[in-house]
């Protein structure tokens, strides 16, 4: 049995809005093992980013537990949390807005080291910055450059170097390549993979790009309106999707080959509102297979096969 790095139990994040309570993350549970990558996919507004941020307690959860290496981080004090965060880092989507435009690459990478008092000696900090730049593949001559002088790929490398500065064990990658061109995207994905092998990192990889997640993740969780509707090892999920939403999602991926004969499942209808959702399957209104049953109760996430979890009332019949 391999070691579980992160365990999330019944995590909820609700926001009050003038029209009611918005269920951004609604009862999400999962575990990630050491050295593995959990891909979290879903469309905009499904709560994947909020889940990632709540795990790091950048957003306070409404309820639920986040257990990291045996410690429940939702119960930590501010000071304890600060120490814990050194081991859990975040890589942001947009390398254009996540870096301070007035800081050079040196300052950007040194900042977390100085702030957390990892190193205090000036020379040691400088050496560490250069070492980190080398790890993420930034040429040493760029050390005095400002973010606006760098292209998107290099900026994202700076973001990764900053995350690595604390020797983290776990990194939430929130759409790390979505803002990049494909040729650069592949460079960054390869870098993240190398770092995982070299440093034994565990990733939670949030993305809307299914081709990327299939390539990158060991396990995949599909989210829809704040809930996980299906979770399985990547290969299993792509070969044998069980939830009607996952099926539609996978069929909608445009494949860069000619003569594809994949039957597109075009979803009709609009997405339910996440504000005060009723106790029913949240996908039922767009689902091709919905029956009365589906509108009665939120289906639970059930393990239908080893490692393959689905939340669908009709999953048994539809297989």
């Amino acid at each position: 049995m391999s070691e579980v790095v992160l365990e999330v139990k019944n995590l909820k994040k609700y926001y009050k809005s003038p029209n009611g309570t918005l269920h951004a993350v609604d009862d999400v549970s999962f575990t990630i093992e050491k050295g593995k990558t959990l891909g979290v996919v879903g469309e905009s507004g499904c709560g994947k980013t909020t889940t990632g941020r709540t795990i790091l307690r950048l957003v306070e959860p409404t309820s639920g537990q986040v257990i990291f290496n045996g410690t429940d981080i939702t119960a930590l004090s501010k000071e304890e949390l600060r120490k814990m965060r050194c081991e859990m880092q975040l890589i942001f989507q947009d390398p254009f807005s996540s870096l301070d435009p007035r800081n050079t690459v040196r300052q950007a990478i040194a900042e977390p080291i100085i702030y957390n008092k990892i190193l205090t000696d000036k020379k040691a900090i400088e050496d560490r910055v250069i070492e980190l730049m080398e790890i993420v593949g930034l040429a040493p001559r760029l050390i005095n450059s400002y973010p606006h002088e760098l292209d998107g790929g290099r900026r994202q490398r700076v973001g990764i170097a900053r995350a690595l500065a604390m020797n983290p064990k776990f990194i939430v990658c929130d759409e790390p390549v979505s803002a990049l061109d494909v040729s650069i995207q592949a460079q960054i994905l390869n870098l993240l993979e190398e770092l995982q092998d070299k440093l034994g990192l565990t990733y939670m990889f949030i993305t809307h790009d299914l081709a990327v997640v299939n390539h990158f993740a060991d396990d995949i969780a599909v989210m829809y309106l704040g809930q996980i509707v299906e979770k399985a090892p990547a290969e299993e999920l792509f070969e044998n999707p069980l939830h009607p939403y996952t099926k539609a999602l996978l069929s909608a991926i445009p494949i860069p080959e000619t003569g594809n004969t994949i039957q597109r499942i075009i979803l009709k209808g609009e997405i339910n509102s996440p504000i005060d959702p009723e106790d029913e399957c949240r996908f039922a209104k767009r689902c091709l297979y919905a029956t009365e049953e589906c509108h009665k109760k939120t289906p639970a996430l059930i393990e239908v096969k080893p490692e393959h979890w689905v939340a669908c009332c009709r999953c048994g019949e539809l297989q």
Partner: protein
Amino acid sequence: MNKEYVLEIEDLTVEYVVEGEVTQAVTDLNLKVEAGTTVGLVGETGAGKTTTALAALRLVPDPPGTIRSGRILVCGQDIMKLSQKQLYNVRGQDISMIFQDPMTSLNPVETVGDQITESIMLHEKLKRPQAWEKALEMLELVGIPRTRAMEYPHQFSGGMRQRVVIAIALACNPKMLIADEPTTALDVTIQAQVLDMMKKLRDQFNMGMILITHDLGIVAEICDEVAVMYAGRIVEMGTLDEVFNHTRHPYTEGLFNSLPNIKNREAKLQPIPGLMPDPTDLPVGCAFAPRCRYATEACKAAQPAAHHFSDTHFAACTAYEDPSFRIERSKDRE
């Protein structure tokens, strides 16, 4: 058979001059679009795709941009020679454009019905009630119930907003439509809906279309021809089958290799090393040579000539001076 071209671009060169520095955005570009077909314009950020599109509507912001040379025929009319007033008529009526972000291309303080009506009244001699009625028909055409015409853009989801933009663009039945990354801001399931709809409308109105995208998956889905742009030039062009299955240009190959393969998750990604050259300082020779694994000294010396592989397929690559040259991707396939 005589082909009906709704857009012809010949030897287009567009420059931007900022603080005395000349940025070569598009260089010697030739492109023709036939009625009822779609040409995919593919390339990375800064390749000149959007500038090409803007030039086709004579919308390149001037200053700093200038159309240095070239001829642009929209439905046979040379738009470089038209007056502002004539241009107003051509835009919207003959050629129309959809922009990437539906949020910024709609007016937030006007109902969607009014916005469509406005564009109809500009081009067709209709009274307001008739124009309004036509606007409602357009909404239905793009799959939005007519009852929602009195609503404002913020009341719509992203996918529906993009459909409103499409309704505006198509309101006057243009013969040519340029869609600049029309689905990039949308989720995949919604993207599938919108692409499906665009395909149907193209066939229904026998429109010519340019689809600008960086997503080769979308190209495979709806394009008949593909033009791959790099640093302001078309480096490879051909039918969908030619470019995808008989790829000739090393850059096109690089794009394919960078994509995660959905059918083989173990396949290693092969990024294109390096970066696109600075457009203010383009090399004398092939702009892709510094990143190209097949590059030789000859590539750096002069602009590569176009090598034709069929009537429709060419690649601008010096390596084909040697007739036996093949890139790796085509070796596997032929």
